[in-house]
């Protein structure tokens, strides 16, 4: 029980879905260019992850084999409607600035594969918990990347002008990839430090 809890909590940092498992890279690299887009992506991700994993853990086993993926895809597509009505309140132009990338989350790896591979074997509560942890890991990455790219690219945060643009190219997809790569390297570095300290403690004991 405890180990499962620990495993789910790991999705926040040490098994971060983006930076360690390498799952939802494209949406962040191309779509996450400012904080508002990060918010829209996070809201959509929450709606397509947690309910779909709950759906999979409760009804998933009763669906005949071969049709479960269709059901998850259709369910997550239906979940786009509340997600869009909520993210529409962020700003008037959010759908134009974030483009197609929030909608693409509905068929990304997490709702489709993770629901069938992980959530189906879990009890509903555990499925909700691991879904929340995955969402938290995604939100942390999206917000850091979005803030960094917005500040570098246009010198503003959440649309408020703070300074002049430092590096306009930061908004382009390739800087998204490179920045994500460096963030993943930092996560690896912190993991190494933790490992070393754990080893040190063991030796000391």
């Amino acid at each position: 029980m405890k180990s499962e809890l620990k495993e789910s909590l790991g999705y926040i940092f040490f098994k971060n879905p983006v930076l360690v498992l390498g799952l939802i890279i494209g949406h962040l690299a191309a779509g996450d260019t400012n904080l508002q887009n990060a918010a829209a992506l996070s809201i959509t991700f929450f709606f397509v992850t947690v309910p779909v994993m709950l759906f999979a853990s409760t009804i998933g086993k009763k669906i005949p084999a071969g049709f479960n993926l269709v059901c998850y895809a259709l369910f997550s597509a239906a979940m786009l409607v509340p997600a869009y009505s909520l993210s529409g309140s962020i700003s008037a132009t959010i759908f134009d600035s974030s483009g197609i990338y929030p909608a693409l989350l509905a068929v990304s790896t997490v709702p489709i594969i993770y629901s069938s591979k992980i959530a189906e074997k879990q009890t509903p509560i555990k499925a909700i918990f691991s879904g929340l942890c995955i969402t938290a890991g995604f939100i942390i990455t999206a917000v850091i990347l979005g803030a960094a790219r917005e500040f570098l690219g246009s010198g503003s945060l959440w649309g408020f002008k703070l300074a002049d643009a430092i590096y306009p190219a930061a908004k382009l997809p390739f800087w998204g990839f490179i920045l994500l790569g460096f963030m993943a390297a930092i996560v690896n570095w912190i993991k190494e430090i933790f490992k070393k300290s754990e080893k040190g403690e063991e030796e000391g004991a």
Partner: protein, 197 residues
């Protein structure tokens, strides 16, 4: 004749200028997954081509109806996912009936090939830009072939990285992302600042 020319131009544009991975960043996680199994790239590319072509054909008239509504930002993706679901079920039942020997584990294989960001993105971009039917089909085929091309290039690059003295913290996903980013930079140099939205 002009239709064929239009089709080919759109296909080449989608293949090189608007490459699905390097400039659009669609389906990257799926591509990373395939680079570990280079033998399956061609099979999945063909599947992706089939899915985008058939779904594009079915979705084109429906998109014309939905495009005027105020809720189109959400209705168009939902419609395309529904169309993909229909295509999936049809393909599933057909294979089950006519090729039962290939049936084993079909659900999950076909499912991953149909429901992914690469397929949906390839359908949504021409739908939002309101391409006509010929360019939509050309775009879908070019994007799918571009996916295979990008997957092969990245798979080769990642095998080459094994001979580099990559520092420990960069091994694995970080260096793959940086490699992808640099390739993406080179393709962006071709497009210039005129990337169509």
């Amino acid at each position: 004749m002009s239709y064929i020319f239009q089709f080919l131009t759109m296909m080449l544009t989608a293949l090189f200028v608007e490459n699905i991975i390097f400039t659009r960043a669609l389906g990257t996680s799926w591509m990373f997954y395939l680079t570990k199994r280079p033998g399956e790239i061609i099979k999945y590319t063909l599947l992706l081509t089939g899915v985008t072509t058939v779904s594009g054909l079915i979705g084109y008239p429906l998109n014309g109806i939905l495009h005027g509504s105020a809720m189109r930002h959400v209705l168009v993706p939902v419609m395309y996912i529904a169309v993909m679901a229909v295509v999936y079920i049809a393909a599933y039942l057909l294979i089950k009936k006519f090729l039962p020997e290939k049936f084993e584990n079909l659900g999950i294989n076909l499912g991953t090939a149909v429901f992914n960001c690469a397929a949906l993105g390839t359908l949504l971009i021409p739908a939002n830009a309101r391409f006509d039917l010929i360019t939509t089909l050309g775009y879908g085929i070019g994007m799918s072939l571009g996916f295979g091309f990008a997957a092969i290039v990245v798979a080769y690059g990642l095998t080459r990285l094994e001979y580099c003295r990559v520092p420990k913290i960069f091994r694995g996903i970080p260096i793959a992302l940086i490699y992808l980013g640099l390739l993406s930079l080179a393709f962006y140099g071709l497009v210039g600042h005129q990337l169509p939205t």
